[in-house]
């Protein structure tokens, strides 16, 4: 096999810190999907989706369980055959060039796919042999990926003795072992506690700095989607929105401002007459929306006659984005106490 013009050639590495949105290094999209559908009997899991993932990008698929995320990822990983439409990964067709696609992708599944009766190192050796990693490259590459996820010292322990977070890290290391061009992470932190989740994300972000790789992930955690360069929101087998997290949030528009005052009805009255804002009581606070919260607050203090006791400004979250595009919140998002975003979201839900 001839060396593919991967973007890792020394001159191109200068672009390590390039944010996607700039031109992709070799011009070819890492993933290209057009008019893709997948039907299981009567159920249409994916209903004609189109999108492109640029090389080097971190691309997130955000949606509730059953939205078609896993089906799409299965098709892209050659584990399922599309009913119609086409998809290419790393430039290869997922149905025609199945093995070539497989050699160019790394996979981390939602459920663990480790052999817990083997050691961490044995799991990686198994993978190296299945992916025919050149024998000379196995040891250094193994060292490298295990160091990267902080498991080098535990490599000779049985995987059954690993914690959930360690297992997930080992899977990420294994997915990277054969230096794939695209790494698929299907719900990479599902079932992990918040602290472990954020540590997994540290490893993923570190990985983006170190390796020249495209990351495709699915998630139903809003805060996780924030880590992506671009997000596609998928619901009922269709993509309803696709853009950067910032742009998506901007499309929802306004920040929410909540104030507590000495005299709430007077404040509402004043907001209407002085600023032309429609405010209402929610959660025991005067609540209203403005395009730019931080810029509005100084004016508010200066011009509102009613004394203000406290102010809080919240940006639109991806949950708001999801809600505005689909008309509902992500149904099964689990709340976790330490998660600021989540608390905010919950507060928003209670309000609604």
């Amino acid at each position: 096999m001839t060396a593919k013009p991967t973007a890792g050639a020394p001159p191109a590495r200068a672009g390590d810190t390039d944010r996607p949105g700039g031109a992709s290094p070799d011009g070819q999209p890492a993933v290209q999907v057009s008019r893709l559908t997948k039907r299981y009997g009567e159920i249409e899991a994916v209903r004609g989706i189109d999108f492109e993932v640029r090389s080097g990008e971190t691309f997130g698929f955000l949606g509730p369980n059953g939205a078609g995320k896993s089906t799409t990822i299965k098709i892209l990983c050659t584990l399922a055959i599309p009913t119609s439409g086409s998809a290419t990964v790393a430039g290869y067709d997922v149905t025609r060039d199945r093995d070539t696609v497989r050699r160019n992708i790394g996979l981390v599944f939602q459920d663990t796919t480790l052999d817990t009766y083997l050691t961490g190192a044995q799991n990686l050796e198994f993978h190296a042999d299945l992916y025919a990693v050149p024998k000379k490259a196995v040891a250094p590459r193994m060292h490298q990926v295990l160091e990267m996820v902080g498991l080098w010292d535990r490599r000779n322990s049985l995987v059954s003795t690993y914690s959930g977070g360690m297992q997930r890290r080992l899977e990420i290391a294994r997915g990277l072992l054969h230096a794939p061009r695209v790494l698929f992470l299907d719900e990479p932190t599902v079932g992990l506690d918040p602290q472990t989740r954020s540590s997994i994300w540290e490893y993923i972000n570190d990985l983006k700095r170190r390796e020249d790789i495209t990351i495709f992930l699915t998630t139903h955690y809003m805060d996780e989607a924030e880590n992506c360069d671009r997000i596609a929101i998928i619901d009922h087998g269709k993509i309803v929105a696709i853009d950067t997290p910032e742009a998506l949030k901007a499309s929802v528009g306004e920040d929410r401002v909540q104030i507590q005052t000495a005299d709430d009805p007077a404040a509402i009255e004043a907001l209407a007459t002085n600023f032309g804002l429609g405010a209402a009581m929610h959660d025991g606070a005067v609540t209203f929306s403005v395009p730019s919260g931080e810029q509005f607050v100084p004016r508010l203090f200066a011009e509102l006659a009613v004394p203000i006791q406290s102010v809080s400004v919240s940006r639109p979250s991806l949950d708001d984005v999801f809600m505005s595009y689909t008309g509902k919140t992500i149904r099964d998002a689990e709340a976790s106490g330490t998660d600021r975003m989540r608390t905010m979201v919950n507060a928003w839900r209670r309000r609604g």
Binding site: M1, A3, T6, G8, P10, R13, K74, C77, T78, L79, A80, I81, D99, T100, R102, R103, L107, F109, D111, T112, T113, L114, D115, T116, Y117, L118, Q122, E125, F126, H127, D129, L130, Y131, A132, V133, P134, A137, P140, R141, Q144, E147, M148, G150, S163, G165, M166, R174, L177, H178, A179, Q195, T196, S199, E202, Y203, D206, R209, R210, E211, D212
Partner: protein, 299 residues
């Protein structure tokens, strides 16, 4: 747990970009062999780490040989030529039994792997499904044969001589049997997704197979219905060659040998040992092919 990322040191950076380029080659036969070899090796690693399995695998055959064999020997001695122990007679059949469960449990680990996800790691790899299935079958065969060899060590207690030729013959036959049984198990595991269902089905099949194989009685002088059933049992075609091997290494007169190991007959025609073994091998290969086809299917 450490949440700190190991510092991407400046020295490491250069080193990293050097080793990053791993060029995974086009699929070829060498790659498939390497994949089959690692699947085989994994079977051995797992068997080695599970010493309890060797012991539990021995319990049933030991019970059959020493408890049933001893208990029935006084009764059975009337039908046996002088100086022949009933334990010696049933030894080949019980030896076959000693690999039965190990081989099928090996295949059951596919169902297990499916449940715990590891099967997926194998199925998405850029190697042929044939390589995986062959590796698995050979792995199961190796492990089961090893289990058989442990039981073979007890041959002396059944007055079976430790003759090197006999031992090698029996090991070869055990290997063939183990391979066929694992292929059978793998074929079933391709379809059956629940471990409980798999276990229930194999339990349901294994005991009749064992009892109909002539492991515990000679194939002559049976009522017609039983005679027919024994001829349809694939195990019969491996138990008989094993018994012939054992009895040809005992110092017995030909009449006694004929009485105890008369061979398999089809409507009076004596099936030669080579054909018997070929039948078992052909069944193993056939089931292997079916398993490969089953595992090639994609959603």
């Amino acid at each position: 747990m450490a949440t700190e990322v190991t510092a991407p040191a400046d020295t490491g950076g250069r080193e990293l970009s050097e080793t990053i380029r791993v060029l995974v080659p086009e699929p070829n036969i060498r790659q498939d062999l390497r994949a089959a070899a690692i699947v085989w090796r994994r079977e051995l690693i797992r068997f080695r780490s599970d010493r309890l399995r060797v012991i539990t695998g021995l319990i049933q055959p030991v019970l059959f040989l020493f408890v049933l064999g001893t208990g029935l020997s006084a009764l059975a001695s009337h039908g046996l030529p002088a100086g022949v122990d009933f334990k010696t007679f049933i030894y080949p059949g019980v030896l076959a039994m000693s690999v039965l469960f190990t081989a099928i449990f090996s295949a059951a680990s596919i169902v297990w792997d499916r449940e715990f996800g590891f099967l997926r790691e194998m199925l998405v790899a850029p190697v042929s499904r044939a390589a995986l299935v062959v590796g698995k079958c050979l792995g199961g065969a190796t492990v089961a044969t090893f289990q058989g060899i442990v039981f073979l060590i007890l041959a002396g207690f059944a007055h079976v001589p430790y003759n090197p030729v006999l031992m090698l013959t029996l090991i070869g036959e055990l290997l063939l049997l183990s391979f066929t049984l694992t292929a059978f198990g793998v074929m079933m595991a391709a379809r059956i997704k629940q471990i409980q269902a798999f276990m229930a089905l194999t339990q349901m099949l294994v005991m009749p197979l064992f009892f109909l194989s002539g492991a515990l009685y000679p194939l002559t002088g049976l009522p017609a219905w039983l005679a027919v059933l024994t001829r349809f049992d694939p195990l019969t075609y491996i138990v008989d060659p094993m018994r012939q091997a054992v009895f040809s290494h005992l110092n017995l007169n030909p009449v006694a040998v004929h009485q105890l190991a008369p061979g398999i007959t089809w409507a009076g025609w004596l099936v030669p040992v080579w054909l018997s073994l070929a039948i078992v091998a052909a069944m193993g290969l056939g089931m292997l092919m079916v398993a490969i086809i089953e595992f090639r299917k994609t959603e």
